[in-house]
């Protein structure tokens, strides 16, 4: 489902890009071609290269709690550091969901993508690749006691878990007969699905498979034996960024010559990887407590987004409601169109549109994009709440006010609005509560809210369920607490009558 939305969005952005002349028409760029583009010089001017990655893919990239700070580590990060160093610039890492990475690259949100990404002809149409820096194999994760599966051939007619948009997705689709594919965004969720027997096996890249197998009790990794050349992990750059591809290739060639990735980066990353509670010999709850800062930070962001979203949404909603109730036909039409359009499209698409779509024109950071999307969405709903609140007040009230000589403005301000507020407030409270829940969707563009932190803790601790439970409880405390607070406020208003 998410994958489809992303594809739709990519189609949209590509169309958009053509209009803005963003796309380079060269479909293939020779590795050794002399670079005449300005991508490299721009990066050097900036002094930083921004790398996009999805840090739930150990040992390539993962996060680790170091001194209270969530740090992104992994073999890919080591490679990125070298590439940046050889270009003479600093490395900045932006994390987001795997599905969003190539879109982010195309829209200039990041300068390069290193994310255990393998080269495929489809991907090569939209971005440029370096030479491979690692040839990984393909593994299947299966339950330890399951000896029925020896290779991909034993998966016919079975359900198989794969990461959406991944190479393994296509391999299983093409080579396993009648497999029912269960696509999910994160490997954690897939492993959880495996352990709860929702899927028979999970197809992953072998280094990742090993990492999960050694840290998750009850599962093992076996060679998938897919009928394919070894997957080639590559670095992706914006289409036409030949100067960057060439520069990165130099670094990769040198690393390949000494097998640095296999012999140094992966083993080092494996050592840094988080380990399961069982291996650390501590209880799961103790382990979760060690990650409390993640949950706290996530809660802060969720609250921040919801509060700013609600306040701005309220202001926008009041404006839209007044426009909709206005006698001016143009204002009315604009408000109606806006409200209908926003209410008729999913928040998720709006968030991606703000981040990626507007991103082609102005550079809006993820958090700001998230807040903007949340408030333009909320504004439409708030407008309808306010309108129906105002319309629920009996016409007799404003007639009486007008008969006393009140202007229409005074009538609204002194008589109608104070009464409408009592109907509006409870509905606004509900809107705020649902905003807290709906804001969880901003994690897809890498805003570090509760859901995002949940992903990190899952990836870090190899605990699938417990972090979900904790986040669920946090959400409930937030929404329940706010409902009760608003209930008290309502009670006081009623008391006044």
């Amino acid at each position: 489902m998410k994958g489809k939305v992303v594809k739709l969005l990519m189609v949209f952005i590509m169309t958009f890009s053509i209009f803005t002349g963003f796309m380079n028409k060269n479909t293939y760029t020779q590795v050794n071609a002399s670079a005449s583009d300005s991508y490299l010089s721009n990066i050097k001017k900036k002094g930083t290269i921004v790398m996009g990655t999805a840090p739930d893919y150990p040992p390539y990239e993962f996060t680790k709690n170091e001194g209270g700070q969530a740090k992104i580590l992994g073999a890919d990060i080591e490679l990125a550091k070298q590439i940046a160093k050889n270009m003479g610039v600093k490395l900045k890492i932006k994390s987001m969901s795997f599905d969003s990475l190539l879109v982010a690259l195309q829209t200039g949100k990041v300068d390069m993508v290193i994310a255990g990404l393998t080269k495929t002809p489809e991907r090569a149409k939209s971005v440029d690749f370096t030479i491979p820096y690692y040839n990984g194999g393909q593994s299947l994760l299966v339950n330890s006691n399951d000896n029925s599966i020896k290779s991909y051939k034993d998966l016919n007619n079975q359900s198989v878990g794969v990461q959406t948009g991944s190479t393994q997705y296509n391999l299983v689709k093409q080579q396993v007969k009648n497999a029912s594919l269960k696509g999910m965004e994160s490997v954690n969720d897939l492993v959880l699905a495996l352990k709860t027997n929702k899927v028979k096996a999970v197809a992953v890249e072998s280094a990742t498979g090993e990492a999960y197998a050694s840290n998750t009790p009850g599962i093992k990794a076996i060679d998938a034996k897919f009928n394919t050349a070894k997957a080639q992990n590559v670095v992706a750059f914006h289409k036409g960024a030949t100067s960057l591809v060439n520069a990165a290739n130099k670094t990769i060639k040198a690393a390949n010559a000494s097998q640095e990735f296999e012999k140094k980066f992966i083993p080092e990353a494996s050592k840094q990887m988080g380990t399961s509670a069982k291996k650390q010999k501590i209880s799961v709850w103790q382990q979760m407590y060690n990650y409390k800062d993640y949950f706290i930070k996530g809660t802060e962001y969720t609250i921040l987004i919801s509060i700013i979203g609600t306040i701005l949404g309220l202001l926008l909603g009041i404006l839209l409601a007044l426009m909709r109730l206005s006698k001016n036909k143009l204002f009315h039409a604009i408000a109606v169109a806006y409200i209908e359009f926003i209410r008729g499209t999913p928040l998720m698409v709006q968030i991606m549109f703000v981040y990626f779509g507007l991103g082609t024109i102005v550079n809006v950071p993820a958090l700001t994009s998230g807040i903007i999307a949340v408030f333009i969405n909320s504004g439409a709903y708030v407008a309808e709440i306010i309108r129906s609140g105002i319309e629920s007040i009996d016409d007799g009230q404003s007639e009486a006010a007008r008969s006393l000589g009140f202007s229409s403005h005074q009538t609204m301000q002194i008589v109608v609005l104070p009464q409408a507020i009592k109907n509006i407030l409870p509905a606004l409270g509900n809107e705020f509560v649902s905003l807290i829940k709906e804001s969880s969707i901003v994690s897809i563009i890498g805003v570090t809210d509760l859901i995002y932190q949940l992903r990190i803790v899952q990836a870090d601790t190899y605990q699938g369920v417990v972090p979900i439970f904790i986040v669920m409880v946090i959400y409930f405390i937030l929404t329940f607490g706010i409902s009760r607070l608003l209930g008290l406020l309502e009670g006081r208003l009623k008391h006044e009558e």
Binding site: A400, A401, F406, Q410, Q419
Partner: protein, 246 residues
């Protein structure tokens, strides 16, 4: 327009969605007159009353008040003219978000920019006049219908209007509460207030009004003194109506 007329309407018509509700009304009101508008339901009595203060704008015609044609005034000028015409509604329409006292004093303060202390004093005085000063601090939801309507009358009087328009002021009341409202209105009439009252209370029309306007089918069919109207109606339609209600 004679100088002595406080209110005069000329050929007023009102159309709702191709339905002609008022079919051309001419009438004038002199200061101190108490006019009872009676007639069968659907005759256009309330619609006519609402045309007088432009709460419902006539489709055509002229309404003169204080020498100005209200049809030609801008919204702002209308707002200030309405302060001179008090209106009392069938369903009271007290402001639910304010206490009884605030209901009465809010318009003088907000519209006439009167000082709070002065407005409060006038409000208490008027509430005493309608016998409800002891309810000054309560909200309208705790009043009976009769009490609410008396407060509504006090609220309208607080603006010192030249004319009072009553739109079926007792129709929504329990029978035993009708008397208290009518007696307030009677007092008002005796003080010389110019009043137009849409009513089904024939006793009130007979005993308090000094002019009856009988309306039927969007027109004023008969204008007469109460005595003459009730004893010797001139028109068949009035006779027919009276035979049904009395």
């Amino acid at each position: 327009m004679k100088n002595s007329d406080i209110l005069k309407v000329e050929n007023v018509k009102k159309e709702f969605k191709n339905n002609l509700v008022l079919k051309g009304i001419d009438a004038e009101v002199k200061p101190g007159q108490v006019i009872a508008l009676i007639g069968p339901s659907g005759a256009g009595k309330s619609t006519f009353l609402r045309c007088l203060n432009m709460l419902g704008k006539p489709t055509s015609g002229a309404v003169y008040f204080d020498g100005q044609d209200l049809m030609k005034l801008k919204d702002k000028q209308l707002d200030s003219l309405r302060t001179k015409m008090g209106m009392v509604f069938q369903s009271f329409n007290l402001f639910n978000n304010m206490t009884v006292l605030d209901n009465v004093k809010v318009a003088p303060i907000k519209v006439k920019k009167m000082a709070d202390a002065k407005a409060t004093e006038i409000a208490h005085q008027l509430l005493k006049q309608v016998g409800l000063d002891n309810k000054a601090t309560v909200y309208p939801s705790s009043l009976s219908g009769g009490q609410a309507q008396r407060v509504a009358i006090a609220r309208a009087l607080a603006m010192h209007p030249e004319v009072m328009l009553f739109d079926e002021p007792t129709s929504a009341l329990d029978p035993e509460k009708v008397g208290e409202v009518l007696s307030v209105m009677q007092d008002l009439a005796q003080q010389g207030m110019t009043m137009l009252v849409v009513t089904h209370e024939m006793d009130f029309a007979k005993n308090v009004a000094n002019q009856i306007w009988f309306m039927d089918d969007g027109q004023i069919v008969e204008k007469n003194e109460p005595e003459a109207f009730f004893n010797h109606p001139k028109t068949d339609r009035a006779k027919d109506f009276l035979s049904k209600v009395i």
